[in-house]
Structure formats: C-alpha cells, structure tokens
Amino acid sequence: MELKTLIGRAKRGLREELRLYLVAISSLSVAFLCVAGALLALTNLSALAERWGESARMTVYLRDGAQAADVAQLRVVLESLPEVRAVEELTAEDARALFLQHAEVSADLAALPPEVFPPSLELSLATGTDPSRIDAMAARVAQLRAVEDVETYRGWFDRLESLLSAGRGLAGALALLVALCVLAVIGNTIRLAVARRRDEIEVLKLCGATDAFVRGPFVVEGTFQGFAAAALAVLVLFFGFLALRGELDASLAALTGIRAAFLQPWMLVALIFGGAFIGAMGSALSLRRYLTV
C-alpha cells in the first residue's frame, strides 16, 4: 500500500471526525493520567525505599542506670564491628531536644521530662549491609550489658516495602483496567467512524479495494488516538510535576532526604507507545467486528 496515500487518507479521516476523536482523546488522556500518576508515585516511593535501604541505621537504647564506663566500653565494641560505620551518643536531653525540634509540638509535649527519652547510641551501618546480618548483629548487641533494647527499623523498612509491592500490584491492576477502557473507548469511536463513513466504504469496495486498504486508515486513526491520549497525559503530568516540585522538595525532601523525581525516560516511551499499541488493537478489534468487508 502506498504509505503516502494511507497517511493522507488517515489525515482526512482525522479531520472529518475531529470532534469525535478530540472527545475520545481527552477522556482517554484522563485514564492515562491515572496510570502515569500512579507510576510517578511508585517511582518516588521506590527511590525512598532504596534510600532507606542504603543508609541503614540502628539505635541501641541504653539501660536507665547504665554506667558511663559501660557505655564507653560498649561504644568501643560497637565501633569495632565491621558493619558499623559510625557511632554517635545521644543523651536523654539530646533526644528530647531533637524530638522537639523535628516535631514542632505544643507546650504540653515540650513539658515532657527528659526521662521519657532514653539515652541511646545511634549507629550508621555500612551501605548495602545484608538485612540478615543486621538482625544477627542486633541480637548479639541486645545481649550486652547496659543495653536495654535495639531498634533496627526493619519493621519500618518492611512496611514500606510491603506498601510498595501493594502499590505495584495496584498500579498493575489500574494499568490493566485503563488498557481495557482505552481498548473499549477507541473501539467504540472507530465503530462510530465506520458507521459515519458507510458511503465512503461502499465506494471503496465497489472500486476494488481490499480489506486491508479499507481498514488501514481506521487503524492509523485508532493508533493516533492512543498515542495522542498517552502523550497528552504525560505532558499534563510533567507540567503538574514542575508546578508542584518546589513545594514537594521543601516538605517531603526535608523529611525523607530524597528529591522528587519524574518518570524515567523508558517509562515515558513505554506509556506513549503502549497507548499507541492499545489504540491500534482497539481499532483492529472493532474493525473485525463492525467492518465486514
């Protein structure tokens, strides 16, 4: 088939059905925006999880009446461990001050006595330390004199991880749902376009057009709708992201230590070409049902 002719015919079709297609594209872009937004949230959550995983921390809470000598000895022992990068001592007073500084709480809480905040040794662990080794180390350290309790923050990390995997599952389900919606909407739009171009199709057939020739432009038009809707969603998300990034960085980043990131290039490509592919599928399926040549 002459490609120039095919594109020309598809362009004419797009022009003729402009309003129908614009409505389809704008509603589909909302659906794509949901998927892209979910992906964006996941991307940033993953970055957060990775960051947490890397900068592993451990807090060793000291017994109430721990002797300074015991604490000093404990510190030496801990510093000698290969997994430990640095040890920082936090007195009850320090802990209280840190808490109040971060929490911006009211006077009621500010009145809390320092005893509420146990003194601790804050360990930063070597990056990439195996979680099982951290657990084993925590168990050993907990046995030591002067140690009240050990917090590995694994619970938090695990919770974030399970949140992430749930998020991935949800995003996958959402993507599937959106794909089906797009398939249905584009299929329906093409069905309408076919109905409105009955006379044209009849002429084509009488002049000896093959099935492929008749269907070609409709497939191109469906592909274009999917492509345009996905591209529009990506653009809207990008400008929304730019507008909100300042705010995000100020609050979120300060709290979590990461900067908000946009979707990776391969994700953008996958979204847009996935949209085009679904558009092509939707029109092809619709033509099989409604354009019996």
Binding site: E2, R12, E16, D199, V203, L204, L206, C207, T210
Partner: protein
C-alpha cells in the same frame, strides 16, 4: 498496462492472468452468461436461465420493466451477489467461483456507475476520482495526471478542487463516470445511470458513455427509459420476469414501435427466449 516511472506495474491484472489461456483471449467474448439462475426467494427466481454473450467493444442496453432483474444481472457480474445456478464468465473466468479475497481484483477491471451516483459528498471531485487509482497503489504523481485526464474526458476539466456536494446531479454523475473510466476498465456496468437526471441531462450522460465506448470499452447500460433507447441504435437486451425476452438492434424493431420486423438473433450463443 500503465506503469509508474519507476517501472512498477500499477494496473493489477492478476485477475486476467490467472487461469486465462493466452491464445484465444483477444477474440473471446468479454462476458458470457450461461444458464444463469438467481433466487432471492425459493419459489420465485429473479433470473431464470439467462444466456447472453457480450463481445468485446459492444455497447448494450439492458432494459425491461422495473423489477425485471436488470440490476441483479449487473450485480452478479461484479459479485455483489453470486449466481445460484449457471456460470458467468468475465474475460474467460467464472466469476461465481472467485474466492471473496479475489473479488476486489475482479472489480478493478470493471467500472460501475449507479443511478444514485455513489460519490462521496464531502470529498472533492478530485478525491472521488483519485480513489479508484489509489486503490491500485498508483504513485500520487501519476494519479494526478490520470485524474486530470479523466475529468477532461467527462467535461469537468479544472473542477477537481470543487466539493462534490455542491455539484448538480448531472455533474455528480460525471464525477462517477470519471471514477469508473479512470482505471481504463475493460467493461463498464451502468445501472440506470440517467434515472435521477432530467431528460436532456440523460442524453448528455448517454452520449458520454458512447464516447467512452468509442475508445474501445465495452459498456452495459441498464435503463428502463424507452425514450432514451429509442434515440440510439445499440444492441438491446430486454429482460422480463427474469428471462431474456428480446435481443434486437435498435428501437425500430422494438415491439410496439410501429414496425414489426422478425427478431434478429445476435452473436453466437445468444438464445432468444420468446415471451
């Protein structure tokens, strides 16, 4: 056969090539009906035992009262319908035996014109004619030249950019004729092409078909308009109640036209069925 400048064959004659013997092709009739039956209802055949031979380069009127089966006869040729019994051979090939995937290639060798024009109203005149060539995958540059030529032949030179919607009925039918001849088909099937036109426009269109015929194209012109047939001296294939009733030349031998000559038997293989 037309070729693009790149040497690509742009007139697909696959239909002719397949299954046609080379030697006898030139003198063989272009269209043969052999004992053709068509039933739309079990008890009442629309065509019953039609036998006809159309030679290359003939101009034939197909006539008969409304409901006689004129349209059906033509529709069987371009495979809108398929015969229920008998054979229709076009250029030596049995049209009824074509697979549905081959029908487009049959139609590319036909030019079909209808009473209701069947032009796409919101397209330009140019687009309506060009579509027949685009289907043949002809390069756009060649399409432009051929369309201009066809529009000139039907008297619409320079009107390519007009929207077809705004044209008069006669002009719209000229667009349809241009679309039918632009591919230079071997056979033109015209089903009441003047049915929607004023008498003087009808004559114009008939004359146009005769001009096309003069260049060597075979034309089957279905009409029930006796005044039109009476003005010309072409072979007449008369249908009545699904049978070929008369096959004579000119209105002078038409029953009730004044003179009463015995029916002339036309061509080989044409059986005249007396009413």
């Amino acid at each position: 056969m037309a070729r693009g400048s790149d040497g690509k064959v742009v007139r697909p004659f696959a239909f002719f090539r397949a299954g046609a013997q080379q030697d006898s092709r030139a003198n063989r009739p272009i269209l043969v009906f052999e004992d053709v039956y068509k039933y739309f209802r079990k008890d009442q055949p629309t065509l019953r035992g039609v036998n006809l031979v159309i030679e290359r380069g003939e101009f034939c009127f197909v006539t008969g009262p409304s409901g006689a089966g004129k349209s059906t006869l033509l529709q069987l040729v371009y495979r809108k319908h398929t015969v229920d019994a008998g054979r229709i051979r076009f250029a030596g090939r049995d049209v009824a035996r074509l697979k549905s995937s081959s029908i487009p290639f049959l139609r590319r060798n036909l030019g079909i014109v209808f009473q209701d024009f069947k032009v796409v109203k919101h397209w330009t005149v140019y687009e309506n004619v060009a579509v027949a060539l685009e289907i043949l995958d002809m390069p756009p540059r060649l399409v432009r030249a051929r369309v201009a030529e066809a529009l000139e032949r039907v008297g619409l030179a320079g009107r390519g950019g007009d929207r077809t919607e705004g044209l008069s009925g006669g002009e719209q039918q000229r667009v349809a004729v241009a679309r039918a001849i632009v591919t230079e088909p071997a056979l033109i099937l015209a089903d009441e092409p003047t049915g929607n036109l004023d008498p003087h426009l009808a004559i114009d269109i008939l004359t146009l078909f005769e001009e096309i015929h003069a260049t060597g194209t075979t034309v089957l012109f279905a009409t029930h308009d006796h005044s039109l047939i009476g003005k010309r001296d072409h072979r007449i294939i008369a249908l009545d109640d699904g049978r070929v009733l008369e096959a004579r030349t000119g209105l002078r031998s038409w029953p009730g036209a004044g003179e009463s000559k015995p029916p002339t038997h036309e061509g080989s293989g044409l059986r005249v069925v007396a009413g």
